[in-house]
């Protein structure tokens, strides 16, 4: 179900242990009692909107910020009195922090000064690190003559050459253009598998987190709202807030009639249905609730299409259609629901896009629904 883990992840022992880690500035809490483990060899992402504390948490792990409370251990060793330069972590900064007065080579070899190996050995390792990030032959260039993508690679090589236990990445791709970003996403993922080092990525881009991570911690207001694999996070978000932050989710008001292994619901526009308890990631209880589903889990049926064997059908009207070439995006008003729901469909030859105003049937599977029993917000 999840993507194949990196080889080292099989050990799955916690490399970083966070126990009730707090950080406050005066009476402003940046981190509130964060308790979690980050495993050896995994690609771990901290995802959240700006100001959620994700960068603060990263900087606490790096040692640039002291934690105000709780415990932080790396590799079983408490980090309380360990300064940043003694920690087994290295960081790729958001601004890349390439030393402008040094060449590419000197930047990459910066951390090797205290290394006892010979000059030739160091030069060879610098060359290897540059080759690994695709900058072979760039060693003699001045750092200020590099493009954004190249700076990024230098920053990566400079950190990885020290073979850290953990590589910390602070929004490393946010300054790149879209194409470069996509390329670096896949390169970073490959690089992480290749070197087997634990990566912790801070990002506000949910797509980036989904593409790259083994596990994602979604943070809001200094707390981890949900920590899960990308697929679990997308399919079973724990709250409406998480659901809204990751991808698009449609919500329908619902009434929970009974709970148990099967939950009986009355959903506006879909009617009375039963779902598995597994489809409610929170605590199910009777009363007002809402039901969510992703745009691609519903299908707009054409006239004459047979009803699906599994799953159900609802009635609706096409309010809006956007044609995207490979995909079409529909806004469909379900009967008895005011806000139209969004449905995305892959376009198929011989099936023209339905015009606005069409009366249509919507097919859906009960397994695609997620039930949120939290108080209405």
């Amino acid at each position: 179900m999840t993507s194949s883990p990196a080889p080292a992840a099989r050990l799955a022992r916690p490399l970083i242990e966070l126990r009730e880690v707090e950080k406050y500035y005066g009476d402003y809490y940046a981190l509130r009692k964060i308790t979690t483990d980050i495993r050896e060899g995994e690609f771990f992402s901290l995802l959240g909107p700006s100001g959620c504390g994700k960068t603060t948490l990263l900087r606490c792990i790096a040692g640039f910020e002291d934690i105000s409370g709780g415990h932080l251990a790396i590799d079983g060793k408490d980090m309380e009195d360990v300064p940043a330069n003694k920690r087994p972590t290295n960081m790729v900064f958001q601004s890349y922090a390439i030393f402008p007065h040094l060449t590419v080579e000197e930047n990459v070899g910066f951390g090797l000064r205290r290394d006892p190996s010979s000059k030739e050995d160091k030069a060879r390792r610098v060359a290897e690190a540059l080759e690994m990030v695709g900058l072979k032959g760039f060693g003699k260039r001045a750092a200020h003559a590099l493009s954004g993508g190249q700076r990024q690679r230098v920053a990566l090589a400079r950190a990885l050459i020290l073979k850290p236990r953990v590589l910390l990445l602070d929004e490393p791709l946010s300054a790149l253009d879209k194409k470069m970003r996509e390329q670096m996403q896949s390169e970073l993922r490959k690089l992480q598998r290749q070197v087997g080092i634990t990566f912790i990525l801070v990002t506000h881009d949910q797509e980036e987190a989904l593409i790259m991570s083994d596990r994602i911690a979604v943070m809001f207001e200094g707390e981890i709202a949900q920590l899960d694999s990308p697929e679990r996070l997308y399919r079973r978000p724990i709250s409406r807030k998480v659901a809204e932050f990751i991808g698009i989710m449609n919500f329908l008001p619902a009434q929970v009639l009974s709970t148990g292994p099967q939950i009986a619901l009355d959903v506006a526009g879909l009617g009375q249905i039963g779902i598995d308890a597994e489809q409610c990631p929170g605590t199910p209880r009777t009363g007002e609730a809402s039901v969510g589903f992703r745009p691609e889990t519903m299908t707009v049926l054409y006239d004459g299409d047979p009803e699906p064997t599994r799953g159900k059908v609802a009635q609706g009207t096409v309010e809006e259609v956007v044609y995207f070439g490979d995909m079409s995006y529909y806004e469909v008003r379900l009967e008895g629901v005011e806000k139209p729901v969004q449905i995305s469909m892959r376009n198929v030859v011989g099936r023209p896009v339905l015009p606005r105003g069409s009366r249509t049937r919507i097919a859906w599977e009960a397994g695609a629904l997620v039930l949120f029993c939290e108080p209405k917000g």
Partner: protein
Amino acid sequence: MKRRSFLRSEAGHGLLMLSPTALYATIVMAAPLVAVFVFSFMTPGYLKVVWTFTLNNYAKVFSSPIYTALLGRSLMTSGVVTAVTVLTAFPIAYFISFYVSPARKSLWLFLITIPFWTSYLIRVFLWKVILGYNGVINSAFLGLGIIHEPMTFLLYNMNSVVITLAHSYAPFAILPIFVALEKIDRSLLEAGQDLGESRFMTFIRVTLPLAMSGVVASVLIVFIPTAGDYVTPTLVGGANGQMIANVIQLQYFKLGDYPMGSAVSITAMAVVTAMALVFVFLNRRFLRGPK
């Protein structure tokens, strides 16, 4: 028609806007310099210049020990002043840049300029009051019983010249270093520590090289004018604190020997320029200063 289009062009506008300043600079800077340069090759006559070409003035500058000795002392004094000023300015600039909260930085810079509110002459006189035989320092030390007779090495020698000049030029040294430090991206310092260096080594390997542009500017700003300073040695230098500018003044206004004074001036200028260029070159070559 063509003239009109030139005046309307961007270059024309630029030159027009520049011309008053350029004219001013020509009249008050370039013209006197040219005059001094021409004078230095002419034959001396009391209070006037005899218009016959000669190299005798320069021959005298390099052959008579008084000029070379004074030039040497000027460069020496100015070198010491520069070292003292820049070395004391750096920690101050560093403190303001790294430890003063951003909201208070301009207040600190403002405080540093306070000495400029009084005239240069008055500040030099004040140092006389502080360093003199019956001055503040001597009275205080005598009163405290630390010394039993006033110290005489404070005033009317090179020490007093160095102290006075270092004080006068402190803001000129602080500001360029401060600007260079302000420009350093703070994440570079975190990167230095992240890559295993202590705070001190990060300072040596990152902060200092990146601040060198400011240090170089400070050195030049202090060294060049202090080498030719005239007021301070006159007032607090005594007989052993005289510098090259004093002898130039002597030639011009006491002896009325314009060509000789000009030759000493041109020589001093040439030497200072050469030293400044050598300094900048060495810095670029070995310390990776500004590119």
